[in-house]
């Protein structure tokens, strides 16, 4: 454990407490959106989706559907004109071409699945029947599926309001970025193509809009990561008094980024609940989810790394194109994937020089937005694969070239080539610990040139990665993302009976906020974990906030909770000091009591303090203090804390079938001060396995006309327990130097970021005898076989093992 000036935790923060969330979920008492009891008279919405990737809408015939059994109404895009404003993704600024999207397509469809009409009926079955009866006449337009097709000079332009299909572009270089490539001894370069992924939260999207006519108010229950932003969008786009809108994210069955956008369905159900004066419900089915929910991570990275002959990394150059699909989404806009990928590339190495150009390109495919890790897993994949190639070219072991370049304590604080500051970290320690735990040296010693053992090819891969976490207001402004606030808030309140409640402005989708933030409150107030309740995801309580994505929960909501708790603790100490006739500074809070330091018999219970604060006690409040025992605080970290990790993966490959099995997986990880190690490990496990699945089985595919052809889970293959390895996680704890927030760093995405490069490098190592270069994902069995058959054998020595 890294020595820590802030002293070790001996309280509730840091304990592996089982979660408060679990009991109802285990009993089947969770309340996900579709589980909310439907109010009487609830109507059900089903959307008619475009069957064409790119077409002019000639006509929409809803007559038959409108007559169908149980149908209340059918609407097309024209019906909402002037009533629901189009969603604008970005503000006009250099490098951006903002795009407007109407909630239903009116004249033109731009991806298969884009909603053209909506049927409202008495129940879901009848609404689906009627949706089949809506006839849409299309006049086909040429579709553009890839970034190359979309950027050709004769490419059809998707959006009238733009001058090209490049919706965002940016470039940057450090002073000598070109120079190091002239003076370098060795340059490695390749073009890396990552594939489109469905994000696939197991609970698909859905919402229930309940209107109250008596005061023109609305409650929208929706499966979202950003309830406050959804509420603001409804207010702005539907011209509705924001104070009369309440958005609630109930139990949410996973997010991973795909619920961090405001969707047309949320706006339409809200609008129609008022229009029809009836509750309106919509639940996305899996096919619709695979066609319409934001996807991610389709990049082309052209990357070059410059080295000295001794293996010292001098700099990097990258050209990045990101396929963002038919529309940028609100609030993250067009730049979030392309811009994020570029600034993510300088990782855990000393890399003084860097130049990039990056573009976001619109195509006639489902909109793409943030998916766990955004561009970081792909950036890490490209750089770590090139690291291994440079090592091979320069005669170094992959571990050795990393030791040579990884950041060491004397480099810290380190400002990287794009100006991001790493205040603390354990880059070299994590590397050494992960290598030791994976027995890297032993594996290498036993490894033969042909990589064969027991009829299988065996390889090992290393990845050093960082994770940008807790990005605040400044980061989003720097990135040109204006509709994402960046801060979050917490209101902590001790009730007269001494129990505390915290309203936190984020919402949890499985990350354990209700447990972790309760640990923070209990720790700071000196009360029991069981005496704290955390409530999230409801705009009716607490402060405005940004939401849960981009590994910002622990840092920003955790920081806000800590700061609000500290202010409440201060007031407890003032009241206790007043009663015990000592200075508030001499009061310590623990075990539900306020003690005079060093005088254990002089104490008062926090319950009594709470009673005093609520004027239900013989003692009065100290002069100057007002009633109640609560505080509201926001948090906006001055510097986004950087987590770091080393992943080591061991794989075996069946040379006959190309099937890759992950044999062993080790992560040495540092996310600063750990609030709950159980939850942290869970985040890493889940991220790693999502990463493995995205490399070895998942692929969202479109045919040449733009038809998505993986729209069921029979075609879009998600890894199961039989495909996943056990995972060893080792912790380091380099507290964030931004101690105003408690020293926490984020942990939501690091698992995925490390898994892509670790698996890819392990596969490349196993295929080394074939000289296979891995520069495309996914690595499906047939692509592994092709790599064995079509690569130029290294040194001409190895040949394919007998099948």
């Amino acid at each position: 454990m890294t020595a820590n000036p802030n002293s070790s935790d001996d309280g509730i923060i840091g304990r592996p407490l089982p979660r408060k969330e679990d009991d109802p979920l285990l009993r089947g008492l969770g309340v996900f959106t579709d589980d909310i009891p439907e109010p009487p008279g609830t109507l059900h919405a089903v959307f008619v989706m475009s069957t064409r990737a790119h077409a002019r809408i000639v006509g929409v015939n809803v007559a038959d559907a409108a007559q169908a059994e149980g149908v209340v109404a059918v609407y097309t895009g024209k019906d909402f004109l002037g009533r629901i404003r189009p969603v604008t993704s970005d503000i006009p600024q250099p490098g951006y071409q903002p795009v407007n999207r109407t909630v239903l397509a009116i004249d033109r469809v731009r991806f298969v699945g884009e909603a053209v009409a909506v049927v409202i009926a008495e129940n879901r079955y009848l609404a689906e029947d009627a949706a089949e009866l809506v006839g849409v006449d299309y006049e086909e337009l040429p579709s553009v599926i890839t970034v190359d097709q979309a950027t050709r000079s004769d490419a059809p332009k998707l959006h009238d309001e733009t001058s090209s299909n490049v919706l965002f572009h940016a470039s940057y270089k450090t002073e000598n970025a070109e120079g190091v490539f002239v003076s370098a001894d060795h340059i490695v370069r390749d073009t890396f193509q990552s594939h489109r992924l469905a994000v696939l939260a197991l609970e698909s999207r859905g919402c229930l809009a309940v209107y109250q006519r008596r005061n023109d108010s609305l409650t929208l229950w929706t499966s979202t990561q950003i309830p406050h932003i959804v509420r603001t969008a409804i207010a702005n786009l539907l011209d509705w008094d924001e104070t009369r809108l309440r958005v609630v994210a109930p139990d949410v069955g996973g997010g991973f980024g795909c619920k961090a956008s405001v969707y047309p369905e949320e706006l339409i159900t809200s609008f129609l609940a008022r229009e029809l004066d009836a509750p309106v419900k919509w639940i996305c089915d899996r096919r619709e989810d695979l066609m319409t929910t934001t996807q991610g991570r389709e990049y082309r990275f052209d990357v070059a790394l410059a080295f000295r002959s001794d293996g010292t990394l001098l700099g990097a150059k990258a050209r990045i194109d990101c396929n963002i699909g038919a529309y940028p989404t609100y609030p993250l806009g067009a730049s979030v994937e392309a811009g994020g990928a570029a600034i993510y590339l300088p990782g855990s190495y000393r890399m003084p020089e860097y130049a990039y150009e990056t573009r976001a390109i619109t195509t006639t495919t489902c909109p793409s937005c943030v998916y766990r890790g955004v561009g970081a897993p792909v950036a890490a994949w490209a750089t770590e694969v090139l690291m291994d190639r440079a090592a091979r070219d320069l005669g170094l072991d992959p571990a050795e070239i990393r030791r040579k370049n990884v950041l060491v304590p004397s480099n810290l604080p380190y400002t990287n080539a794009v100006g991001m500051r790493y205040g603390s970290g354990s880059f070299d320690t994590c590397l050494e610990r992960a290598l030791a735990a994976a027995d890297y040296a032993g594996f290498r010693q036993a490894q033969t040139a042909d990589r064969l053992r027991d009829g299988k090819l065996h390889g090992i891969g290393i990845a050093n990665v960082i994770e940008h976490t807790g990005q605040g207001t400044l980061r989003y402004r720097q990135r040109g993302i204006v509709y994402v606030p960046g801060f979050d808030g917490a209101q902590v309140k001790v009730e007269p009976n001494g129990r505390a409640i915290a309203w936190v402005s984020q919402c949890t989708q499985g990350q354990g906020h209700l447990t972790a933030f309760a640990q923070i409150v209990a720790h700071e107030l000196g009360i029991g974990f069981d005496d704290v309740t955390v409530v999230e995801g409801d705009t009716a309580f607490g402060t405005y906030g940004t939401g849960t994505f981009a590994s910002r929960g622990a840092v920003i909501a955790g920081g806000a909770t800590l700061r609000a708790s500290n202010r409440v603790a201060d007031k407890i100490r003032r009241i206790a000091g007043h009663v015990l006739k000592v200075n508030a500074r001499d009061i310590k809070l623990a075990d539900g009591r306020a003690y005079v330091s060093g005088v254990s018999e002089a104490s008062i219970s926090i319950r009594e303090v709470a009673a005093i604060a609520h004027s239900m006690h013989v003692h009065a409040l100290p002069e100057g203090d007002s009633f109640g025992l609560e505080a509201t605080e926001y948090y906006d970290p001055a510097v986004a804390p950087t987590s770091n990790a080393t992943h080591v993966a061991q794989v075996s490959i069946d040379p006959g079938t190309g099937l890759v099995t992950v044999v062993k997986y080790v992560v040495a990880h540092d996310c600063g001060r750990v609030i709950n190690p159980l939850i942290v490990e869970g985040q890493i496990h889940g991220g790693v396995v999502q990463g493995i699945s995205s490399v070895l089985s998942e692929a969202m595919r479109y045919d040449e006309t733009g038809q998505p052809i993986t729209v069921s889970l029979l075609d879009y293959l998600v890894g199961t327990a039989a495909d996943a390895p056990d995972i060893t996680v080792l912790h380091e704890e380099s507290w964030s130097t931004d101690t105003a927030g408690g020293g926490f760093k984020g942990v939501g995405e690091g698992g995925v970021i490390g898994a892509l490069p670790a698996i890819a490098n392990a596969v490349a190592d196993a295929l080394a005898p074939f000289g296979a270069k891995i520069n495309r994902l996914p690595l499906l069995p047939h692509s592994i076989v092709a790599l064995m058959e079509n690569s130029a054998p290294a040194g001409g020595e190895a040949k394919a093992p007998a099948r």
Partner: protein, 167 residues
């Protein structure tokens, strides 16, 4: 209006009689007619396993089963595992091992685990992984689920319980 069919079945120990449309799915019957919303629908095409229930003692996808097919059947859902009392040993093991995150897939995993441990009181890691491969969990990476299932098996063996709980 399509003709409704009378069905008689036992759900979580209670005998019921209902009239249902022939196309009503068992999952929708359980969720919307009986308000047993612990059974979740993750794909509606039989892959993700979230909707798994016990049908005459064996696991079944309630999203691929019509309610009329359950006529005469004994159905057990996640709500049966620990109605009001303490968590069952399997549920407890999931709690202690942090084997759930968002919790959406969990009811299905619990039902399959219950079936597995009925037949295999001491399953190897490999057996657990193979038995649960009909379920998708997007959050946990399965690591803690596998650990929880094996811990639950140990607990059940120690306590001499053949089964997680009796309906």
């Amino acid at each position: 209006m399509p003709q409704r069919h009378k069905i008689e079945l036992t759900v979580n120990g209670k005998k019921l009689q209902r009239h249902v449309e022939p196309r009503l799915l068992l999952c929708d019957f359980l969720r919307y007619e009986l308000r047993l919303t612990g059974t979740h629908v993750g794909c509606a095409h039989g892959v993700c396993g979230a909707c798994t229930v016990l049908f005459n003692g064996s696991t079944a996808r309630s999203c691929l089963t019509f309610a009329v097919q359950a006529d005469g059947a004994v159905i057990e859902t996640v709500e049966s595992l620990a109605a009001r009392g303490p968590l069952s040993p399997i549920q407890r093991a999931f709690y202690e091992h942090h084997a759930l995150q968002c919790g959406f897939c969990t009811p299905g995993f619990l039902m399959s685990t219950r079936e597995l441990l009925t037949h295999h009181p001491d399953p190897s890691e490999e057996t657990v992984r193979m038995a649960l491969r009909g379920h998708i969990c997007r959050c946990t990476g399965y690591v803690n689920i596998v650990r929880a299932v094996r811990a639950a098996a140990r607990k059940l063996r120690e306590e001499g319980l053949g089964r997680d709980s009796e309906p």
